[in-house]
Subunit: 215 residues, 2 copies
Amino acid sequence: MTVRNQRKMAGIPRGVISRLPVYYRYLSGLSQAQEKISSAELGKALSMTAAQIRSDLSYFGSFGLHGYGYRVDQLKQAIAEILGLDRTYQLVLVGAGNLGRALATYRNFRHRGFIIGAIFDNDPQIIGQELAGVQVQSIDNLEDYLRTNACDIAVICTPREASQAICDRLVGAGVKAIWNFSPIHLQVPDDVIVEHIHLTDSLLQLSFQLRQRSR
Amino acid sequence: MTVRNQRKMAGIPRGVISRLPVYYRYLSGLSQAQEKISSAELGKALSMTAAQIRSDLSYFGSFGLHGYGYRVDQLKQAIAEILGLDRTYQLVLVGAGNLGRALATYRNFRHRGFIIGAIFDNDPQIIGQELAGVQVQSIDNLEDYLRTNACDIAVICTPREASQAICDRLVGAGVKAIWNFSPIHLQVPDDVIVEHIHLTDSLLQLSFQLRQRSR
């Protein structure tokens, strides 16, 4: 990425940033043989207008060639850099219930450079089991582990009641980014980043829309 | 809900609607004993300003009493009605891999009225297994099942390659709402609602923010 682009990034609207993973995912799914793509094609595939695509991508410099479209490899590479995908991330997962297990074994994460280095649980039945090559440890080991191992992102998959306490322990041990799957709003200091996946909220958006339709 | 409120709903900003599940989830987690809550308390718990809370909730009529706050039960009930939670929904789940299993056994959904009536897969090893009391059926039965059973929402947890074809079959069989966990952007007719959970996109938002911090 050029210095100019780095400087420009500060002013990128959140909406544009939220769409970058969508572009990245779509471009990654294209055949290796496809060298270029037009804003019209991208728009059609992603249910957006060609103008919106061009507007979004214009924030990141000029990948587009008039009358040609975008070079797939260049565009993908540039978005990957912006998203921070030019490195790997060490993850720690807390809570090896059904959802935790599903995440631990989800191949897409490792493929993108997100490596689960350790998994913790408090259930003696689960501790010692192996998930995707990682042995589940007792939650009692959490602070010890974090003292001696890097952790870029902690994934919280614990039941609601335990989540805030686990979050506090992670933050206390120096974790600065949390991916939260538990159905509560975690309280964290300002310098900690939290990204929530609230499954039920998403389902409620569906029920809301179904209700609107049935009127 | 009053007729006046119903009419007003058409003009509610999407941002407000997206926050209703957040309010609902938080209110549902409060002790039964708590009768009222102020916009300041709600704001503190949800990292919003009291003014934003009051502004959001003002769209749905006057639940607030000056100098008193909101009555928890009334507010929760009103939001539940708006979100369409005053009924149950029949779900069909396609793809009983790790993520599908986690969803099938996630108690919160049933608790909110989302009932998984059938689960389909194409793997002979998985067909016939029981998940949360539901026996996994062959995907070959999908259309037969949908001819004779209600399905308000179909959940797609299949691998990327299969998702669009499964989506087409569901839509062809009359399904009007899809909850998509597969990492592709599904193409559907205008009258079909799709809500996506793209796990990797959320993780990329984290890596993006970590990258911004490290500058």
